[in-house]
Amino acid sequence: MSHIDDYREVVPKGTIDFLKRLAEQVKGRKILHINSTKLGGGVAEMLRSHIPLLKDLGVDAQWQAISGTEEFFNVTKSFHNALQGQDQHLPQQMLQEYLEINKENARQLSFDAYYIVIHDPQPAALIESRPTQGKWIWRCHIDISRPQWKVWSFLKQFVVNYDAAVFSLPRFAQRLPIPQFLIFPAIDPLSDKNRDLSPQEQAQILSRLNVPTDKPILLQVSRFDRFKDPLGVIQTYRLVKKHHDLQLILAGGEATDDPEGKTVLSEVREAARDDPDIHILLLPPDANLEINALQRAATIVLQKSLREGFGLTVAEAMWKGKPVIGGSAGGITVQLVYGVTGFTVNSVEGAAFRIHHLLDNPEVMTKIGGDGKEYVRQNFLITRKLGDWLALMSYLGRRI
């Protein structure tokens, strides 16, 4: 477990002392985060590092998870899908189950904190039981830019009672009568996925994965999903291969919650057939060190998404000093400042052109890689996210 002072070596100078001063504006007022589970999932993973760091800064922060029946979590899974745009049928009985479980949790949980941060839709209706004191914030981690209207209308009746909502991208915001803030996701530079690796450690991991290092590596890390365009990546590689002897690694997990996932993977395997320089690596969800080693071994990293949430794999690769070429989608455009910290592209041809350009101009790769790393240091590290939260609490705390 990393402590706040451990980050001094990697964050911009003055940041940690500055965060300590910022935290003083929040001290004395307890923060309680509530989500749906303490095990698994991106929110739990984020809170596991966020809460101890807040405590290191002298802030009294707690984390509680709601409990629910299997039916409740089926309902909230349907909520999740509907809010991301999928067609879902939610009969009245299911909505009733959602409300009942939220009421039951409200009776069991103690809202003994000034700031209550509710994550995602599952516990959103807890707001019905809010005490008169304190500030309630709804933190939405999912893309609700195109929600199924009926489900959003149901959820919205609770969201409007919060003091503020927080989203990961401006386009996720909704028409709401409450202030809506933007807090970008961030990477942890000291985690297994991003920490420095010794050359021996890296070599061992690559050898375990059977990845040769005798040719430049073009890498895309993402699940096998049409929106990540793995077939487009193979076409891109083929265009570049005519002039450069390189290899392509497509690494990621299967999209288990996507019925099309298996089809996409078999199409990718079919497209890669007979080419010994294309490596398809199916990695388990906890393959953090493996992803770290692959990103460090890469010559150029691609994230050729057609649709994207935030796309933190871009920041992960930039943090390792790699030039990144990404699809012009979602949060990728926030991370890749065109021609400064990377390149965004809109086609297979555009991606191939940029790869050519970079391979023929190693000094550009070095410059873009270096600037990309500094951009991540300033904007997409966990310490920046901590600061955003402290600033939000300070701001809301003043508006009494």
Binding site: K13, D17, F18, Q180
Partner: protein
């Protein structure tokens, strides 16, 4: 000349920018124009000034969000160039800056047959700044201390005492130049700092330039 000790120390204050969504976006340059006419000053400030807080180390393609969006997302480099050269320091206040931006876009559109649109790019999402002041607790009484603290403090201090002080708090010279002139009796150094072009570079680069100017004075004193 012997370097003076200040009667009143310089108190270093930094800031953190909280980003609030205005709830408005533009997909084409006409929508951009109409929105700029109506957005609150905090939003205009966010897209033209506090830009620097988000690009502390690296200067972006253009030094304001409107120019960057036109050039990169709409692919209208002409409008990008026209907006990119705007220097907010040339304007008395944000209303005058708003009028000029509106005028530039309006004139640009009047010369076109079709309205340029972000067909493949992202829409422009209007945001606004909520600046949280953070006193660092650090103070300097002479130029040596000032230079030493400036070199190690969070770079938002450079933003707060120059951009925020000049453009929102009305301290036209900037806090660094004002203190150095009034408290240290170094008008030449103060003038050099106030003449720095804050708009065309990054905060980190401004920090280095100010430190270099301080070092030149300190070096002269050492050799004296």
């Amino acid at each position: 000349m012997v370097l003076k000790i200040a009667d009143h120390p310089f108190l270093f204050t930094g800031c953190w920018e909280l980003r609030e969504m205005v709830g408005r976006s533009a997909r084409d340059e006409q929508q951009l124009l109409e929105a700029i006419e109506e957005i609150p000053f905090d939003s205009l400030f966010y897209h033209t000034h506090s830009f620097f807080l988000r690009h502390k180390y690296i200067a972006g393609p253009y030094p304001n969000d409107f120019a960057t969006w036109a050039a990169i997302q709409v692919r209208d480099r002409v409008l990008g160039e026209k907006l990119g050269i705007l220097d907010p320091y040339d304007f008395e206040n944000l209303e005058a800056l708003r009028a000029e931006i509106v005028n530039i876009i309006d004139e640009h559109l009047s010369q076109l047959q079709i309205i340029p649109r972000a067909i493949y790019g992202e829409p422009f999402d209007f945001m606004q700044s909520r600046i949280i002041e953070v006193p660092t607790g650090l103070e300097a009484r002479n130029l040596t201390e000032f230079r030493k603290i400036l070199a190690t403090v969070d770079v938002s201090v450079v933003y707060y005492h120059n951009f925020e002080a000049i453009l929102r708090l009305g301290r036209r010279k900037g806090d660094f130049a004002l203190w150095i002139e009034e408290q240290l009796d170094l008008p030449d150094l103060a003038q050099k700092i106030s003449r720095l072009d804050f708009y065309m570079t990054s905060l980190e680069s401004i920090r280095h330039r100010i430190i270099k100017l301080c070092d030149e004075v300190l070096m002269r004193e050492t050799l004296r």
